[in-house]
């Protein structure tokens, strides 16, 4: 009798535990820490890690600021952005990749309704009143140029491969190239041309093949997207052009860092998209709280080469911990 009683009690306890567990999985409408703000982030309608990282950073900042964050995508017509004024958000962060005039019109509508707006990763016009959070593409070009200048004093024949996967870079390609030209002396730069890949992950392969075939004297390729870096490098390995053409990549993918270790890639430019997203939400929170924030927040860019790879990796490891 005692054994059956104990077994019955045990079964009941397990059942109660499972029911309680099941009920606890249902999210409650009321939360103990109710968000004080509702922010909305508009990102380009492309699927790549760069924007995913921005979203991750923005969500982290929303938690830290006790805010709720909704994420929307931008369409080329700007309809989505035009709805931003009616969704009831306290602030909007936009990563524009559509026509600047459409964006500007939509943002003006928001401004009329006194809805705080910050621009992320891509500035539309320098004289507009919306704060900008992201990297300075002129600095990007300057850093690349300085790096090239360290190991090639003359006859630089380079190609910059832009990508739809990182549209802000393409949008500000003049700034990028200006930075490069400033850093390397004009007399050392034989030629500099820009190319563009679509959102396909392997699009860079085709561009690299075409470049090798068409430009025999090409000695430097600069990528502006992580996936393009990986695909283009693989193409150069396949064509046995490693060493003959210097590669400057983009992003801190482990495979890219491995290529640096092996000497396949000379260096890579690393931006921190999570920090961009994080700073964007922080700026919105500041705007909601005080009505003011910094006009521009440079989230920085760093160049990782074989020399500083170890320290970069240890720093990353420390940051992750």
């Amino acid at each position: 009798m005692i054994a059956s009683g104990i077994l019955a009690l045990f079964s009941l306890c397990v059942s109660v535990y499972l029911v309680r567990n099941l009920l606890q999985k249902v999210p409650s409408n009321e939360t103990h820490n109710t968000p004080v703000h509702h922010f909305s982030l508009y990102i380009p309608n492309t699927r790549n890690t760069f924007f995913s990282e921005i979203v991750i950073g923005a969500r982290r900042a929303a938690v830290d600021c006790n805010a709720a964050l909704s994420v929307h995508t931008l369409d080329q017509s700007g309809t989505g952005l035009s709805m931003a004024e009616w969704i009831g958000a306290d602030g909007i962060a936009v990563c524009p990749d559509i026509d600047d005039s459409i964006t500007k019109n939509r943002l003006e509508e928001l401004r009329k309704k006194s809805i705080p707006v910050v621009l992320v990763n891509h500035n539309i016009q320098a004289n507009q009143p919306w704060p900008f959070i992201g990297t300075n593409n002129y600095d990007f070009g300057k850093k690349v140029g300085s790096f090239i200048h360290t190991w090639r004093a003359a006859g630089i024949h380079l190609a910059v491969i832009y990508s739809d996967k990182n549209p802000s870079m393409y949008a500000e390609r003049e700034l990028v190239e200006m930075g490069i030209r400033v850093a390397v002396n004009d007399h050392t730069l034989t030629s500099a041309s820009g190319y563009r890949t679509d959102i396909s992950l392997r699009a860079a392969e085709q561009v690299v093949y075409r470049l090798i075939r068409s430009q025999g004297d090409l000695n430097t390729i600069i990528f502006t997207d992580t996936n393009d870096t990986l695909a283009g490098t693989q193409a150069l390995i396949d064509l046995n052009f490693v060493g003959r053409i210097q590669i400057i990549g983009f992003g801190s993918d482990p495979e890219i860092l491995d290529y640096i270790k092996k000497g396949v890639i000379s260096g890579t430019l690393v931006v921190n998209p999570q920090n961009i997203g994080y700073q964007a939400i922080l700026s919105l929170a500041e705007l909601c709280k005080s009505g003011y924030t910094s006009n521009s927040v440079d989230t920085g860019i760093s160049l990782v080469t074989a020399e500083n790879l170890e320290s970069y990796e240890s720093k990353e490891k420390k940051d992750r911990l």
Binding site: V19, A68, G80, M83
Partner: protein
Amino acid sequence: MKRGMQNSFRIQMLVSFFGVLLILVVSASYILYSTIKIQELVNKNFEKQRYVKEVQSELGDFQKPFLEYLSSKSSDALSQLLILSQKIHGMLPSYTYTPVDPIDLSEKEVYSLVNSYLDLADIAIDEKRGMNIESYTNLYNQMQQLLDYINQEIESISSSRYSDQLAGYEVFITNSRNIQLWNLLFIIFISLFSFILIIYSVDKINEPMVNLSRMATEISAGNFESDDIGMTSLYEIDRVVDAFNRMKRDIHTYIEEIKWQRNVEQEYMQERVKNMRMEEMIRRMELYTLQAQMNPHFLFNTLNTGLQLAIVEGAERTGEYMEHLAKLFRHNLHQQNVLVRLRHEIEGLESYFYILGVRFPKNLDLVLDCPPDLLDQYTIPSYILQPLVENCVVHAFKETDQRNSIVVRIFLENKWLILSVADNGVGMPQDRIDALLYPVPVDKFHSKVMGLENVIQRLYFFFPEDPEVVVIKSSGGNGTDIRIRIDTGKTLCIPY
């Protein structure tokens, strides 16, 4: 046993019954509760989506009267619009908080968009009233865009929610199955527990009944020696058990008393039979005595006549002899009592000694040693010394040429009065002694037994507790000493 609520048979029955009932009701309630909770959970997952769809549907219904009003400015359409607008406004939840969940946040945004849509509709209606055609046309276009976006967002929410639910569905089903499995196990074990509890309760009540039945069977078989039935925790049952145990003991005691009485009665009857036999024997002895007295009286009278004749004729010694003989006869004839004073026994023996002295004047020495102070102090069974002396005369001196002697001594030894008759005759063999000293049961004793054996059996009769009341010491050729010892501190045993 202490009488408490918990020890009541009725309370325990009720507790067992209602306890099991309560366990089963609680178990069933819990199963129902968990099932309802699971159902509520499933329902809750679809509740929000149904609500959004309802709002979407109402918004769809809003389009027709809105377009109709913009086209015809119909008052019916306007009233319909106002009703619908109010209805939709009423359906929109008023958020007191900002949800964190992305889907819930999108839902909040949709409701905000719907609210904006209705606000734009109000403005458009006003513009229509003001006949501001361009404005309400632009507003209408804007509203169409907004409506499309709302529908798109609702579909997106549905899709996201569906994906979300699909991901959780498998987990939910697994958890539900686990809950149902454990509920089933719970029901099985709790039913088993209840079943065993009932059996235990029934056994608890039944056990004393079985014991009572067993004990009743044993008692009916006459076994009263078995242990009492043990007490239980039920005072009603214990009262029955206690009464039964007491009844068993009382019956046992009563039966023992009856047995004892029967034994006493048997012993009494045996004693009575024995007494009757003894009475019969005594009467027979008296008869023999009377018969025996017939001739001695005649002989005594004849001896008296002979004595008178001897006196008349001058034969003095003959006269003296006949006088002693007459004394002895008279002594024996007048001996009516069973117990006599020692003096009486000694006087008879003196006459007997005189006669023996006349009969055996040359070779028989007779000695009688009895302190005079003892003669009147003690009582002894009558006629015990003369037969012993006679036995010596008859048996002890056969085939002996020496001078014979018989010594009779009476003396006190501690509390014992010793009567000793010793001779210097041929002695007595041991087997003869053993045969003589064997006590014959009273009912087997024949009054016709005479002489030494008669004396010995009578002594055993008077002193049944003293096996050494008479002792015979003898060895071949060295004579025989017969000693009688009488406890002076005790009254002689006379059974009737």
